[in-house]
Symmetry: C2
Subunit: 196 residues, 2 copies
DNA sequence: TCGACTTTTGACACACCGTGTCATAACCTG
DNA sequence: CAGGTTATGACACGGTGTGTCAAAAGTCGA
């Protein structure tokens, strides 16, 4: 979370960081649009070369998912830690909104991110892989709880429902940003998850 | 469906057609992989220039959605024609599988298509736009039936549920291709659509 | 202080995607 | 045969993402 448990084994110090690049890039996206911003622009604004950008992110759009590995890992961990007595439906409704929760000071950042994600087609495309990962976590969890494999019909349905609820909650939130995202998320999950 | 109500206003006859290009392209995708197939390869195999390919399809992946406009239009039409007495939940469960229905002789073609769609990341990405359109049709329909706008929470949820069910059914079908896709589709819809 | 090691960086070069432009080919009708 | 119409091919261009390699800028040990 905070600073580096990284062991310093010498070598040239980095000129930038993933988070700094992400901040610079997202600011440019918001300001002049995603497709109107080239990787050259981002690199120049961050004071590094284009090649360096691609060492931090394998795709231009990837800067929007800097937090994603953390969120994904949190979701997986929370489900792993869910008490065996808790029904899987309840566990998902409880953990999914928590995994995506961010402190209030990151709210406008999140809102901008969500708007880019749901509005810009080129960005929406790149979301597919992340969505898949998110979905698979839920599917695997439900399969475990139901003592089946990941080919289980209900588990597959639950996975897709989890993703659908997450996207739906964000879509609704964009238009009603005064409301509480985790709360909305829970309501969508309750509406869409199949019966236990 | 079958041949051309197109008025012939003269001009040079086309060397190829969207369907022929799509067939050639999908065959190459299945044979050697999507990313291992360049547009140059497709064009060469079809006997036209690269530029011509992009006049028929605006993206390499678009060949996989030749049938999409028809399916989308059918879904929209079927919902428009649904009797006002039919509950919206039932109407979606009835019409969505029908709109995606294809004659048996196109089965292997559909199976290949579905496998590419759910397996190859680069293809999955391009699906986002089509999925959005599919989802919006359901959302708009539910909003109409509930006398609300497309910002309605239940309508949004129903839209995402419709898409989730469609994807889930295809995913399940890939692993159990002996079963009936429309039937699976209906079961997923029944499982995921929120209560009326 | 000097040299060996490690890591980050920048400079090129390259394949591919998708777009704009323009001349040419191949059909129609009068 | 002339003029209109449509499809095509050739070419150039900006952008993305990748591979390669030499140079920069630190660390540590002798």
């Amino acid at each position: 979370m905070s600073t580096t448990g990284a062991t310093d084994r010498g070598g040239r110090p980095a000129l930038t960081s993933a988070h700094q690049l992400a901040a610079v890039a997202q600011a440019l996206f918001v300001e002049r649009g995603f497709e109107q911003t080239s990787v050259d622009d981002i690199a120049a604004a961050a004071g590094v070369s284009r090649r360096t950008f691609f060492r931090y992110f394998s795709t231009k759009a990837d800067v929007l998912w800097v937090e994603s590995p953390t969120e994904i890992a949190t979701f997986r961990r929370l489900l792993d830690e869910a008490p065996a007595t808790e029904p899987w439906r309840h566990a998902i409704i409880r953990t999914a909104p928590t995994a995506l929760h961010h402190p209030p000071e990151e709210r406008t950042w999140m809102l901008h991110r969500a708007q880019l994600l749901l509005t810009v087609p080129a960005v929406q495309e790149k979301a597919a892989l992340r969505h898949d990962e998110w979905r698979r976590i839920a599917t695997a969890f439900v399969a475990r709880r139901r003592d089946t494999d990941e080919g289980d019909l209900v588990a597959i349905a639950a996975g897709h429902a989890t993703l659908a609820a997450t996207l739906g909650a964000h879509e609704y939130w964009i238009a009603h940003s005064d409301q509480d995202l985790p709360d909305l998320h829970g309501r969508f999950l309750d509406l869409l998850l199949p019966a236990d």
